[in-house]
């Protein structure tokens, strides 16, 4: 969920052998009710959702990083790796075993775990779409107003907030305002814990 110029260097560095698509207007976030990256959806051969949008192997460990050095301790890094590897192992298990995988939800469980949008979330996406359009056409002031509307209506969405936020030289929306917003979560997670044993 990005704009081409910002995404390009990452895609080119990764040289993926799978399609890497550009979703400037965050259509996928709208369609699937996503709120952060990375989030992933498991979809089977019949085009059915096997696991609804979830945290794709990230963790809140970054919240305790040293904000001046941007360094994480060895323990924090190891824990981050453990969770990421655990998630990917689950994906591979599903690829190999399909519906027999312990990680594949049956339809009732998948439905139960869906997070459904409300009217404020729907309205937020409309404001975001307008804001991106206005920004592309050079209307920064009005775009900013609609980005603000979008975040006000959908405060849980980090994709909306960070796409609209000021970026540093490397393109990250990780300035003081980001950290303040993260800290304001208090005990609430930035990344919802993954519904998998041990993760």
């Amino acid at each position: 969920m990005d704009v081409p110029d910002a995404a390009r260097q990452w895609i080119e560095a990764a040289k993926p052998d799978y399609p890497c698509l550009i979703d400037c207007d965050h259509h996928v976030a709208d369609l699937y009710n996503m709120v952060n990256v990375p989030q992933a959806v498991w979809i089977d051969e019949q085009g059915r959702i096997v696991r609804p949008p979830e945290n794709a192997g990230s963790s809140d460990g970054f919240r305790s990083m040293d904000r001046t050095t941007k360094r994480m301790t060895d323990e924090q890094l190891a824990e981050r790796e453990r969770i990421k590897k655990g998630y990917m192992a689950a994906v591979r298990d599903w690829v190999a075993n399909g519906t027999a995988s312990e990680f594949a939800y049956d339809p009732a469980s998948a439905r139960q775990r869906l997070q459904l949008p409300d009217s404020e979330i729907a309205e937020a996406h409309a404001h975001f779409r307008l804001a991106q359009h206005l920004l592309r056409n050079g209307n920064r002031a009005e775009a900013a107003a609609h980005f603000a509307d979008a975040s006000r209506l959908h405060p849980a969405s980090w994709t909306i907030w960070r796409q609209a936020a000021e970026k540093d030289a490397t393109g990250l929306a990780s300035g003081p305002e980001f950290w303040a917003r993260v800290d304001a979560l208090g005990d609430r997670p930035y990344y919802r814990p993954i519904d998998m044993k041990g993760l």
């Binding site: 910002a6 990452w10 369609l31 992933a40 085009g47 339809p107 009217s119 729907a122 779409r129």
Partner: protein, 137 residues
């Protein structure tokens, strides 16, 4: 000229006219863009029809034009526009998105890769798909 953004499409409308909170569009153009067409039963898309409120027809239909914004609000869908009334978003409603997700059929979409080539989710039918999001920010 008025630009109408709906789902994944962006169209410059040749018939649209904005009037404050109202957006009038030629009924044929509106039907082509959104799938909502005006029938004797009201506005219909597929199996669903929304009757035009009795006594308030003039709010919704004027000659060959329909008030897309009024219909959108009546359905409970979000409609937003810029201050000049030149760009309108006819947003998807929460009920529609929720109903779609509850079928567990993964919503399809068409997005470009860096080369500008469009890819759809549905073109991968027959294989498992891990749809993963990321961003540079």
């Amino acid at each position: 000229m008025i630009t109408v953004l709906h789902e994944q499409s962006e169209a410059v409308s040749s018939t649209a006219r904005a009037d404050g909170a109202q957006l009038w569009i030629g009924s044929t153009e509106f039907a082509a863009a959104t799938g909502w067409s005006l029938k004797p039963e009201g506005f219909c898309r597929g199996d669903i029809c929304v009757p035009v409120p009795v006594g308030r027809e003039a709010e919704f239909v004027l000659g060959d034009a329909v008030n897309a914004a009024a219909l959108w609000r009546r359905i409970g869908n979000p409609v937003v526009h810029d201050s000049a009334g030149e760009v309108w978003v006819l947003g998807a409603g929460a009920a529609h998105r929720s109903a779609s997700l509850q079928t567990l059929e993964a919503p399809d979409f068409a997005l470009p890769d860096l080369a500008g080539e469009l890819h759809t989710l549905s073109e991968h039918r027959g294989k498992k798909v891990l749809l993963a999001t990321w961003a540079s920010w």
